[in-house]
């Protein structure tokens, strides 16, 4: 059976046995491509699709279904997002059924996404049921921090100028936050009026404040799905920020977000005897 037939069978089984109330998966988009699809009964499972247009990270929707039993179709990056939410105790493991799919690499406008070229993880790290045939991970270390290394090689003034030009375009629509599975605070710092962390006025430095803190709040938490970059209407290379922090966290703490739901996140733990360059 093909992967999608397996997904249909599993989804039907879960809904018929009432093991879950809802299956979140991908459906056909109205203008081509795909869209998130919520299936509440066995009659709807045939509408589920999975192909290389299925770009959304469906883990985000689990946050709206806290306490309700839900099955969700997960690519490799999405499964890491579920692990992130589990490690932060945002969702309960026994309420979530993870249907893993083997990802062909997502394409946009016929071109593979940069994220998908970097990511060699075709099979999710965690799943309850895997619909496809598992594939070996082929991670290209060179590619992983491509762009970040080039940024690091620039001079301070060049980097400053680069980010100024990028953030200058930001319209602070917060789409990057809305789509991010790691951004789930009830009240985001950007909406605080007292203290007013990010001013309402239109100014480059306010844009920088937002973008810097959005990225920093994902330190050791970003699972690299790059949804933020995908939805950015002005094309700010947000993954350059996220991957810089990902790299620092990996090099310093040897931690990768979303790989193991049991591992303690780097900022939620510490070692007494560690030297982090502050004269210890």
């Amino acid at each position: 059976m093909s992967q999608i037939e397996n997904v249909h069978t599993k989804a039907r089984e879960l809904l018929e046995s009432q093991a879950v109330d809802c299956v979140i998966g991908f459906g056909k988009g109205t203008t081509g491509g795909s869209r998130p699809l919520f299936v509440y009964g066995p009659e709807g499972v045939e509408d589920l699709i999975f192909d290389e247009t299925c770009a959304h990270n469906l883990a985000k929707y689990l946050l709206n279904r806290k306490g309700k039993t839900t099955a969700v179709v997960l690519k490799a990056c999405d499964a890491r997002a579920v692990n992130l939410l589990l490690s932060e105790h945002q969702i309960e493991r026994d309420k979530v059924y993870m249907i893993g799919v083997v990802c062909p690499g997502i394409k946009e406008n016929g071109e593979p996404r940069d994220t998908c070229l970097r990511c060699g993880q075709r099979t999710p790290v965690s799943y309850d049921y895997l619909a496809g045939e598992p594939e070996e991970a082929t991670v290209d270390a060179e590619l992983q921090y491509k762009g970040v290394a080039e940024m690091e090689a620039m001079s301070m003034a060049e980097r400053k100028a680069f980010w100024e030009a990028q953030f200058d375009r930001c319209i602070r629509c917060y789409a990057c936050r809305q789509v991010c599975p790691g951004c789930y605070c009830d009240e985001c710092f950007v909406e605080r009026l007292d203290p007013l962390w990010v001013g309402i006025r239109i100014a480059p430095s306010e844009n920088e404040m937002w973008n810097a803190m959005r990225a920093f709040h994902l330190t050791g938490r970003c699972i690299g799905c790059d949804q933020c970059e995908r939805v950015c209407p002005v094309g700010i290379p947000l993954s350059l920020l996220n991957r810089k922090l990902e790299k620092e966290v990996y090099e310093t703490f040897g931690y990768e977000a979303g790989m193991d739901p049991e591992a303690a996140p780097p900022f939620a733990t510490y070692k007494k005897e560690e030297s982090l360059g502050f004269g210890e």
Partner: protein
Amino acid sequence: MGVEFEPRIVGFLCNWCSYAGADMAGTSRISYPPNLRVIRVPCSGRVDPILIVKSFQMGADGVLVAGCHPGDCHYAEGNYYARRRFAMLRPFLEYLGIEGDRFRVEWVSASEGRKFSEVVSSFTNQLTELGPRATGAAV
């Protein structure tokens, strides 16, 4: 003739060690540059990185965070968490185009009035050399 550049430093001092260390410097009549604006915080673990980024955005030339020595935190572990965050923040600031040298983390105990004075003096000198922070079109 231009006015000589005087760096503006925002200092977050932990209530239990570094703030008392600054007090010690005062009562011992040890002078230090007046460039530091002190904000007293309960613990270096209270210093959210947003406070540091915001300080830079509001025009600080340097930010100092001083807390109890590792192992001596009044709350046992606040500074351990803090230093992990700062260890990630510093390279990130550099990446955004803010010199890492403008952000300093120091461990100053309540008895180290002399050290406190030295820290502020050397930081002020360093920032004077670095010059004013080049800010964008509008801050």
